[in-house]
Amino acid sequence: MENQEKELNVAETQEENAFAGYDDIAEKEREEQARAAQIEADKQLPPDPEAILEVRHLKKHFVLKKTLMGKPLSTLKAVDDVSFKIKPGETLGIVGESGCGKTTMGRAILKLHQPTAGQIFFEGQDIAGYTPKQMRALRTKMQIVFQDPYSSLPPRSTVGDILAEPVRVHNIVPPEKVKEYVLDIMEQCGLRDYYYERYPHEFSGGQRQRICIARALAVAPKFVVCDEPVSALDVSIQAQIINLLKKIQQERQLTYLFISHDLSVVKYISDKIGVMYLGSMVEFGPKDKIFDNPLHPYTNALFSAVPNPNPDEKVERILLKGDIPSPANPPMGCKFHTRCPKAMEVCKHITPEYREMEAGHFVACHCYSEEYSGKKGE
């Protein structure tokens, strides 16, 4: 263990000379200015007409401490500069450890959190600046299924009331047809008609999650954010809910943003996958490319950490050291360099750019930049 570290240190000192006298703070300022200019330039671009949802440079910062004058002293960058596109009928899976900002991102897209900066194009319109009143009309098009089915249903309403409320509020069908419509939705979600009069506490976790899904579908949305919909459920029930989500997607041509920390579930349901680490997207691409050829060291480590359900096959694991750093005080340079098995000296100083390696496959890592990866070999 110690010998290894010593060897690493020797290698590092050689590299370090390249960064001797390197001014981190000045470089950071320069970096930020360049990025701000890039964001300004991107703002002028028209939205992609093919995408149902396009997110550009989305940021959500929470202010932790304020000065007496109300100026922010320390901020937590929960989502820091995330961009991606989803086409209609696709499923984008977002994976990452807890605290990496995946839930915050899902909520910011639905404007359940007001984004700090960035653009969100939904069907060609930038909704980032919309007022709550303007959003209200859009709620029929975008919906969310929450993680915990035990706390996201009102305990004093019957299933019928829970499902009929959004239908009435948004005038989806004439008032006399509401019950018929709700019963139809319930049937599609695998709920029996006599559940209409029952209360949430009478149901098991799987049935409750079906109610949550039915509630999201009641307004006939086009885009649904599924925020860890199966992680609170048992394995045998998980499969039921995943199959239900897939069936409904095919019937209604839905677009999903599927947030989960369970890689095998995300692999099963998604067309495209984004890997998040400490508020940034480190890798993004089509499912097959991400799983067959993961580029970022974090993605590699994440995949190798998944337990293998074959007792005779022992896989060599890439074990990450330590915990995810606090997002309130992220490391300089590449945020992953503190745990990265392939970290170079450059990673400690310069934030890697988000570059396209193959068509649609993006990665943010210095290992794939010609400039820096060459340096390592010298």
Partner: protein, 451 residues
Amino acid sequence: MSVNNEKEKEAVNATKEKKHYLSGKEIREIARANAKEMRRLEKAKNRKAHPSEYTTELKDNNNILEVEGLHSYFFTDQGVVKAVNGVTFNIPANSTVGVVGESGCGKSVTSMSIMRLLQGPSGQIVEGEIRFKVSDFKRDEKGNFIPVYEKDEDGNVIMEPVLDKNGVPKTDKDGQPILKGKQRLDEHGIGVFEQEETVYDIAKMPIKDMYRLRGRQMAMVFQEPMTSLNPVFTIGNQLDEVSLLHVPGATKEFAKKRSIEMLNLVGIAMPERVYASYPHELSGGMRQRVMIAMALAGEPRLIIADEPTTALDVTIQAQILDLFNDLKRKINSSILLITHDLGVIAEMADYVVVMYAGRIIEQGTASEIFHNPMHPYTQGLQKSKPTMKSSEAKLFNIPGNVPNPINMPNYCYFKERCSQCIGKCSGEYPGMVQVSPTHYVACHLYGEKED
């Protein structure tokens, strides 16, 4: 698919006809009957007993723990919940036994029963034996531990004077110094006492005698590290407690040294700093490591890990599982690993026990269970989990839910969700069928040969 749908419909109709609510009168009747039973069991739990009353023999001396016919019930006002309903399994020495099952199948209650931590008076072990091999301290007639004395070449005990607080030898009335045998010290400077191997039936032990076993002979790693650590004491304080309570003659210095050693062992980078910090200052993975360090501090022979990685991320989970495998080699103990994640079991366990609705439905070695699952539930559980390698168009799913734990049917509990039912399934609950020397399954599909 249509078969599944019909079956689901049938199951739903069956529950629909059943009454959903109990009247006040019925609840009172149940409560009265329960109160009588609970009082009897509580009395047995709090009685004083001589060790000979609960000393037994192991059936196979290679085992460290044998559970036989364990029944743990919860007496509620809605009726008796048979959370563990006749569970029998063994833990061989130096091996890992994994218990899998969905929530509510009784896997946690089994582990709580072994630790005798069921919350009374409603939770009780009603029947069954839990035989556990311990190395307990020998006691003299007064109940004191017997020290191991240093001996000289002739086999005589070396005597030394008894010192008072100031280090001055004590004298008796005649002015002669009082002598006592010199106790042998271990490498930490802690006195050694005589120990003997005995087998105790934990299910019959009074709760006060359990204090001797917990921590030193068996220890538990709880599911939620967030709620299992005391927020108002430092990590060091809570860790020291284990050594101070369970190592006779331990001093504070020894306890601190040992705690830091344990924190090092579980891979915490700055043990001195963690030792002085409070639980809220640590991350989830660190807290779980502290929990494991706490369980290891007494060097137990059996570690019960109840979903140790469920609350953690995959990357941290990989670290913790690696740690468990390492520690098993280092301190030579057995692990009872409880989880709902089949992947974790496959990586860790030598033997696997599959539980469903309070009973064991299948047990065998890990490769038997994973390559040749016999019970339809085990098969379904494996097929319904998407894996990193598979790419089927549709996931297999087990229809329906786990049955209500009150009023369990007397036929096979899995019948209503099973896709391979035969006529016999409406009959009695299937018994255990032996398929290979280590592989057992409780299903009528495999019972025919014996008839």
